[in-house]
Symmetry: C2
Subunit: 229 residues, 2 copies
Amino acid sequence: MRATQADIRKRLIDRIQSGEWPLGSRIPDESDLAEEYGCARATMNRALQALATEGLVIRKRKGGTRVSLRPVRHARVAIPVIRDQVEALGETYTHRIVTQETRLPPETIRDTLQLHAQQDALFIETLHCADDRPFAFERRWVNLDAVPDIRNAPLETISANEWLVQTVPFSDGQVTFTAVALDTALAVLFDTAPRTASFTIYRTTQIDDRFITAMTLHYQPGYELRTAL
Amino acid sequence: MRATQADIRKRLIDRIQSGEWPLGSRIPDESDLAEEYGCARATMNRALQALATEGLVIRKRKGGTRVSLRPVRHARVAIPVIRDQVEALGETYTHRIVTQETRLPPETIRDTLQLHAQQDALFIETLHCADDRPFAFERRWVNLDAVPDIRNAPLETISANEWLVQTVPFSDGQVTFTAVALDTALAVLFDTAPRTASFTIYRTTQIDDRFITAMTLHYQPGYELRTAL
DNA sequence: TAGTGGTCTAGACCACTCA
DNA sequence: GAGTGGTCTAGACCACTAT
């Protein structure tokens, strides 16, 4: 069988793990390795690029390819729509709008969404439930200039989370994971003690330089976000 | 200038965002698109594969390429060595071993590391500090069969975290992010109130089918893990 | 400035999977 | 069975950067 990129990658990793190529050392260049493994340079290039993406090697033009001294591993975390997350657990998704109003946002939100000084924004609080039990609580500000149509969206039927994903798909954004203590009102919602720890995601969404929405999502106590390295 | 994969990708995304290719619709195949954009099929293939990796389109042999109905975004999170994390903040890293002993692990750890019934494992608790302030607290079990040399490692000088990254680099593993309430002892360490919320990472590490270590890492209250979508 | 990786082209064959 | 994506080859030129 012909050598594939995946095979070659494994064999290269072996040479690193075995210590044949120590951390920080320079390894042969693409052309030499391609010849050694009997493949085209393009194939070896793909294999080495994959290793670079994983953080195992560092590649520089003219500088060659080196085994990473400080391999930084990356985890790829899926950020699904909450409905999908609940349904993936085999439970029934429902949501309830707790607050929905158009008003002046606080300064931090105004800065984040890059709004003008006296510009209103849409504020929505949504409780997401799994089998009627609270699953996550969402606080969201929406830039009405960026998505004016949301004024007419049936948010009782389709959550702002879903509506935005369908309407402004493929946006860019920033995500922050953290842990916060639930305030009293949220503790009541989740039927737990005040100050219980909640896994929390803070997220902003934009398309190009147009800031669309800023959201805080508090998950139910005990929620875990899992992934493979 | 010749059309590059990145240019083409942007132009394809535009056609999706503009609604020309609605969610769920099938888009032309590689060869047609390559002809339309005046590039080789391999180039178009790379562009489309990138979109597939981002979750924007779904590709199937014979089935063609479709715009994803439910785009699942992914965030790529770096999992650095804690020393690097602290030093990236411009602070000085130190660590202190709180506990270090070889003993029988609890059942959950025994299962996770796939140890025999009466097999000892190394238990280490480490406090990681930034400018002498507690930064994160690590509880770790190490499979001594997998890395016997750790018995002789100078763990006071180099933390188990760093030693393992250098010794068994490029391992696979599972990562779980969650929020937990600090117990009393940890609250004292972090100089905060008991039950304060702590961003917590649970992680296991393996090479092939060899389980090396299981670790719980409690970050200081207020810690945030940031990334871009 | 020369060596190295980055990436495109044109062609080929293969592997899935839908009809 | 036929259409589509998956991926390899061989060659070329370009862009960065270490020396």
